[in-house]
Amino acid sequence: MSDEPKPYVAGLNSDVRKAPVRVAFITRRTSAAVRVTDEERMMTHPGVFFRILVAIELLTITLTWLALLFDAPLEQLADPMHTPNPAKAPWYFLGLQELLHYFPPVVAGVLIPGLVVLALIVIPYFNVNVEGGGLFLSERARRVTIFAGMAGALCVFFVVFDVWVALAPTLVIALFMALAARQAAKGATDGLAAKPLSFWIMTWFLAELVVLTAVGTFFRGPGWSWVLPWKEY
């Protein structure tokens, strides 16, 4: 044992898992000013829980009234020998059943719903347009050509297969996209012109979903023929 004091060793621990090092990069056009992000907050208990509780209570009251006023349907005992015409799926599948009317089952029943689910899952993993910039705010001429071409091809496809029900929402969305391009050309940077591509795709999907489901539910009668909902068949 020596009387000398132990040499003090100053070192840098380079193992980031034990001693994480935070490095800040100050990029161009920003200063090191602190952005205050602690905005007004509310305690989860009781504030948030109370609001949720009120929301669920109002929902329960509404549904209770519905249950008191309208009876759930109950038809005759199930009979495999007697097929009703039309035989309809639950309402949320009637958009698909409407598509089955036009396309073979492997397309309408497997391919299209499969692609829709896949598309929904991958939405947040597409980092093509993180800032959500308006579709027609840059490279406008090129993009107008591309999307006019795509909308045109889609419309021709629907006409060839006689899918008039799916054609109508496509035309409406294409019309609004043309409007957005026109507003962007005039220099607008807000409203329709600011909508990114993902907005247009999702809105087209929503429009198709609503129209196909509504047609399947209200406008289809025996043999999947076109009927008016207020007429008896």
């Binding site: 907050r41 989860t44 249950a67 009703p84 959500g132 907005f199």
Partner: protein
């Protein structure tokens, strides 16, 4: 005379109460936080939420309402199970009993059915609302994926429940749906057979749908909902657009102007 809340406060100081609820008595903010943090179910949630996300127009409370329909469905569903036999044609006779024999049977079935339709609608609405306010973007991408799986679970729950009354409506709706399954290339017939337990909708199908509807899918839904809620906390709370927080933001004048520009360029409503 003491107010009722005082009795409740007294109750909270008792040994028995404190042995159950770890947070103990008190009304401070710390205590409010502990109530959430020290409870196995509530600790799925954060102890605080930004005030802006709790405004009605931020979310329309669609997620909470979807969960509300699920709760109603569990309660009414368990009660309906007490009067139901998953066998053909007894299942249909049970529907008739609910209608004419069981007290409030009609109301119970009505509430279950309308809540089921409401749940499908609300879950769809919730998904579109989340999309349009841009809340699916990183770091919340995986919670969006769980949400999509929950949407499919909801549709399957509703679809399997559709068969259980065993009337013409149920029978043929499920026949139409299961025919679609047989369109899957290569395995179509096998999938359909697995689902129905036969080559057509019959008593086996009813039993399988019953097990899926009352056991498998609800358990899956509960687990997924728990993860869905927990991820809200882990991903930094419910999303609200940054731009609306203008008045709370301290930033150099130049940067603020740029931010405002960015907000108008790329703002998702």
């Amino acid at each position: 005379m003491k107010p009722i809340s005082a009795y409740f406060e007294e109750l909270r100081t008792t040994r028995a109460w404190r042995s159950v609820f770890r947070s103990g008595p008190g009304g401070t903010r710390l205590h409010s936080a502990l109530v959430v943090q020290q409870n196995i179910f509530l600790h799925l949630f954060a102890t605080k939420a930004r005030k802006r996300v709790m405004s009605f127009r931020a979310t329309w409370y669609l997620g909470a309402l979807s969960f509300g329909t699920f709760l109603i469905l569990v309660v009414t569903g368990v009660l309906l199970m007490l009067y139901y036999h998953p066998s053909a044609p007894q299942a249909y006779a049970d529907m008739k009993d609910l209608q004419f024999v069981v007290s409030s049977g009609v109301f119970l079935r009505n509430l279950h059915r309308w809540s089921a339709h409401a749940m499908v609608f609300l879950v769809f609405a919730h998904m579109f609302k989340v999309f349009y306010r841009g809340a699916y973007r990183p770091p919340r991408e995986f919670n969006w994926v769980i949400g999509v799986i929950l949407l499919l679970t909801t549709l399957l729950l509703s679809y399997t429940g559709y068969l259980l009354p065993w009337d013409q409506l149920a029978y043929w709706a499920v026949t139409v749906g299961s025919n679609i399954a047989s369109a899957v290339p290569l395995f179509g017939q096998d999938i359909r057979y697995l689902l129905l337990g036969g080559h057509q909708v019959n008593a086996n199908a009813l039993l399988r749908f019953y097990v899926l509807h009352c056991v498998v899918l609800p358990i899956a839904a509960v687990l997924l909902i728990a993860v869905h809620f927990w991820r809200i906390r882990k991903d930094g709370g419910l999303y609200v657009p940054e731009a609306a927080a203008g008045e709370n933001t301290l930033a150099p004048a130049g940067a603020a102007a740029e931010d405002a520009g960015a907000a108008t360029r790329g703002g998702t409503p």
